[in-house]
Symmetry: none
Subunit: 252 residues, 2 copies
DNA sequence: CTGGTCAAATGGCCTGACCAATTTGTATAG
DNA sequence: CTATACAAATTGGTCAGGCCATTTGACCAG
């Protein structure tokens, strides 16, 4: 909020500058950019830095780099990369709150259209989860499969993707360090019970019940999280640059 | 296709190798990768090459590079990198359906906690939207501000981010092309009316009404979309194939 | 005109070095 | 013993200069 301080990596600043020149039309589509050596000189940076910036733009699909020929503008706007651009790692509580809002709605919707074969898939995930309470990796994978499986019932790829992405965020290096302190057979068993409640509600076509069960599950996750290490981390929350304090206390 | 040679650039080969190690789980999520210098030695390439490969993965959102600390695996599979290849981009209808599910829930939640100053922000977005019906860019920006503004009322950065990312998918080159066929002052005015209904419901603290208004808005968007060009887009689409050199170099 | 060769331009990659941010260990003060 | 402060080690960020491979176009021989 104060001053970005421009501590951003140099190659990113260069990439941003070129990107904006493309967006503004100053560099037209199809046009060839100056050679790497020229760009380095004009921008007063080294050639490796220019190269790194150009690779960013190439991955984003904005330019096309051709050996021995040059660098050409392909299109004017990047296609929603965003995934990594900022420092978007929100706090664990904030994440769980967001999941509560979104996944409750998905569970509600799923309950109204679940078919028997969908329930079978959820059951498979539950079996895998209960069968590997001592293998953290297997349990997490099954947990993920359960949540994305619910989204799959709705039959919408975007919902599946969003659900998966939010789940995968449980491990920024920082998040994972905290999780290792409280994840264990006991907590997994609790989560498993809550999963079963969600599954049953969806199988019964009980939309309101599914929504409530999902909310209970994610609320309990939050509670397990906080009880295990209390405020241990509440002080060092500046870690992920959370803008607003995660007022995670939701009321349901 | 005649030239399979391609002789891929080295840094891409390195990026592919590391990416597949992440996908296979050989490099677990949250884990720290070896230092750049070690990677360079183990892979028998130079450090700049390793750096370029890592920048690719960072732009793709797979790893998180932290100065002085190390490189960490963030997620297992690339998220929505339309630039790389494939058709991970879901269709417009699928996207609008997903937004209906998610944003309805957000609007419902927002209605229960909206404060006067939050409504002011929404109103500002509405004014900007109504004031620029002839400037597509301005209207889209205001439209985006309205939707993310609702998420902001909930006070959760993750919700804001997800809402923004879903909105930004309309910027995919393919989606954009279609939108240009039907977006116009008329459709924008309709959308504006629907926005006002949402705003009013939230301002009144009417959760159910806000949810319904949001659903109506996104349903209508879907309808406007389909009426303007029907199934015209269901067949043709090789837009994503611009891996080949852009033939734009001939004149311009 | 056709075909080939050659050289300039340009991107791809390397070596080696130094700087800046972060982490970690250690010593000192309380 | 705890906790703070400081210093060293680790690691990413940047720079400099160089050589090689590919592309491109001009030039020349046929």
């Amino acid at each position: 909020m104060f001053s970005p301080v421009e501590s951003r990596r140099l190659y990113r600043q260069v990439a941003d500058q070129i990107r904006s020149m493309i967006a503004s039309g100053e560099l037209a589509v199809g046009q060839r950019l100056p050679a790497e050596r020229e760009l380095a000189e004009q921008l007063s940076v080294s050639r490796p830095t220019v190269r790194e910036a150009l690779i960013v733009l190439e991955v984003e699909g904005l330019v096309n780099i051709r050996m021995g020929s040059g660098i050409y503008v392909v299109r004017r706007h990047a296609a929603s990369v965003a995934a990594s651009e900022g420092e978007p790692v929100e706090g664990p509580f904030e994440l769980l709150q967001a999941r509560a809002v979104i996944e409750c709605a998905i569970a509600e919707e799923a309950a109204t259209r679940a078919r028997p074969e969908d329930i079978v898939l959820l059951d498979e995930a539950l079996v895998r989860m209960s069968g590997g309470v001592n293998d953290a990796g297997a349990v997490i994978a099954a947990d993920r499969a359960f949540h994305t499986g619910i989204a799959a019932i709705v039959g919408n790829a975007t919902l599946i993707r969003v659900t998966g992405e939010m789940f995968d965020m449980r491990m920024s290096p920082y998040f994972e360090k905290l999780a290792s302190h409280f994840e264990g057979p006991t907590t997994w068993r609790s989560a498993l019970e809550e999963h079963r409640a969600i599954r049953d509600a969806i199988a019964a076509g009980d939309a309101i019940g599914a929504k409530a069960a999902m909310r209970a599950h994610l609320t309990m996750s939050q509670k397990r999280f906080s009880e295990s290490f209390g405020e241990e981390f509440s002080g060092e929350e500046e870690r992920g640059r959370d803008k607003g304090p995660a007022k995670a206390t939701d009321k349901t």
